[in-house]
Amino acid sequence: MRIRSRSAAVLAPAAVAALVLSIAVGTTIGPSDLGTRDALAVMLARLGGPDSGLSALREGIIWDLRLPRAVLAAICGAGLALCGVVLQSLLRNPLADPFVLGVSSGASTGAVLVVLTGVGAGAVGLAGGAFIGAVVAFGLVLLLAHLTGGSTDRMILAGVAATQLFAALTSFIVYTAADAEQTRGVLFWLLGSLSTASWTDVAVCGSVVAVGVAVCLAAAGTLDAFTFGQDAAASLGVPVARVRLVLLLVTALMTAVIVSTSGAIGFVGLVLPHAARAVVGSRHRVLVPTAALLGAVFLVWVEIGSRVVIAPQELPIGVGTALVGVPAFVLLLLRRRQQGVS
């Protein structure tokens, strides 16, 4: 049974509550022995309430380490799931994810270049390098797709080509320039990590993802129009070329910012859109906010899991999403096969 728009009125507050609760749980888990009561006290204190009674150090652990991590996880999860929804609809490909157009691969190359060879390290840092790499890769994909005719198939092929190229460049740089310690650090980042999350990251990612959500909600009907392809969208009144460019730019920007701050966290953008569709159907007016909320809750819990499973060590968050995401994806493929969809 699917949940239609009527029950969405009930579902929406419940999902928001689940998200807030998940983030709250995220702030109570960690190596320092700080529980629910401490977390609550600190948040009250920071929001203008009475003093928490905890030392500045312990208060900092909750307010400056755990909370931004949990919030950033929610933002990244929402943004990645949203990008997946938009790209799967625009490119009419159920396998499309935020990284299908080479953005993450380019970000890796940019980050590795900055970290390992020191090119522009002082000026831009790892995040800046990643962002520039992502933009360069996406620009290359747009150019390639345009030169080869601009169809969605060409777009995906151009994305695959760019992904391979930048992956090779990354390997080349790592192989020639890195020592073991640096390599380990870069690999950890490549797999996705929120361990360096700061309130600055939250502000940057949060504002970009908020803009993305607004644009996608405004374009919900337009995204529906792509259900039967580009010509069908055009015959339903959509100026296809312009809309596609704008939406691709918005998703690329979201992905680039997310990847720059937290690495290439896989599977959220691939699997969560399908999960959201299974729950609320394919109308984007409901699908867009649902996918964003599901993605946020999902990544908050994976982030918690990645700190708990092999505590006191941490698992790269991308490993966690893949471990949960791959079985979910296999189930999805099996279901599609049962339905006779090739």
């Binding site: 799967q88 009419r92 374009a219 129009a225 039967f228 069908a232 015959s235 009144g237 959509v238 296809v240």
Partner: protein
């Protein structure tokens, strides 16, 4: 607003690279008429339909909608008065039939606005008109070919068009479903232009037919005048017996 001149084309041509696919076609589709586009595979029927819908830019010539060059109108304005149904419409998303028919309301809605009561009424009426109202909660993917085609036409009617363009709507349907579908199509209150393969269906349901060959119009007019043994032989390269009785014109193909 008074009823306009409908779709008129003036020496429209279109091609890819140096291959001409539609070659200097001039048409005037009378408002309210049902017009059949005939011609062998590759004669340019589908391409001409895309040009009529403004989905491809013409190489030369122009398509006029009530006197306005279609290339100067926004997609949204065109979509509010002209609807297109493709030969086959497939999707990876898994929409319900209601979702699909509701797509027809998009050109009438502003970006942020939700579905209005009127939108729901029009969707309901369109689905009743195409006898798909019992399918509304079903998955589009679970329907038969004939049902999908009716759903797509219902979606097109939900656009409240004055012109409806159909590309071989009876493709892949059995005889009974072909007849049922065309009965519903000609009952719709629109000007209809449809590409057809079956000459007998064209003679039964079209007020006028346009015969294409190599991208050019070779014959045009009422079916009983246009579809003759000579034309069938010249255009399709097959011999046929064309008979006329009180039911109209019948084409019987002869073995060579």
């Amino acid at each position: 607003m008074s009823r306009g001149t409908g779709i008129v084309t003036d020496r429209v041509s279109w091609g890819v690279r140096d291959q001409v696919i539609v070659d200097g076609v001039s048409l005037a589709v009378a408002p309210g008429a049902t017009v059949g586009l005939l011609g062998p595979n590759g004669s340019g029927k589908s391409s001409l339909l895309r040009l009529l819908a403004g989905l491809r830019p013409t190489t030369t010539g122009c398509v006029l909608l009530d006197g306005a060059d279609i290339s100067t109108l926004t997609r949204r304005v065109v979509a509010r008065r002209l609807a297109v149904v493709d030969q086959e419409s497939v999707t990876d998303a898994d929409p319900t039939v209601r979702d699909v028919i509701a797509l027809g309301r998009l050109p009438h809605r502003a970006p942020w606005s939700p579905e209005s009561a009127r939108d729901r009424t029009v969707v309901q009426e369109a689905s009743v008109a195409m006898r798909t109202d019992h399918l509304l909660e079903r998955r589009y993917a679970s329907l038969s070919g004939g049902e999908r085609q009716r759903v797509q036409i219902a979606r097109a009617l939900a656009q409240e068009p004055s012109e409806l363009l159909l590309d071989e709507p009876t493709n892949h349907l059995d005889v009974r479903h072909q007849l049922e579908l065309l009965e519903l199509v000609v009952a719709a209150p629109t000007t209809t232009v449809m590409a057809l393969h079956d000459l007998n269906l064209a003679t039964s349901y079209c007020d006028e037919v346009v015969v294409l060959s190599g991208g050019r119009v070779v014959e045009a007019g009422p079916p009983q005048e246009v579809i003759t043994e000579e034309v069938v032989h010249r255009v399709y390269g097959v011999r046929a017996r064309v008979e006329q009785d009180e039911q109209g014109v019948h084409v019987r193909f002869l073995r060579s």
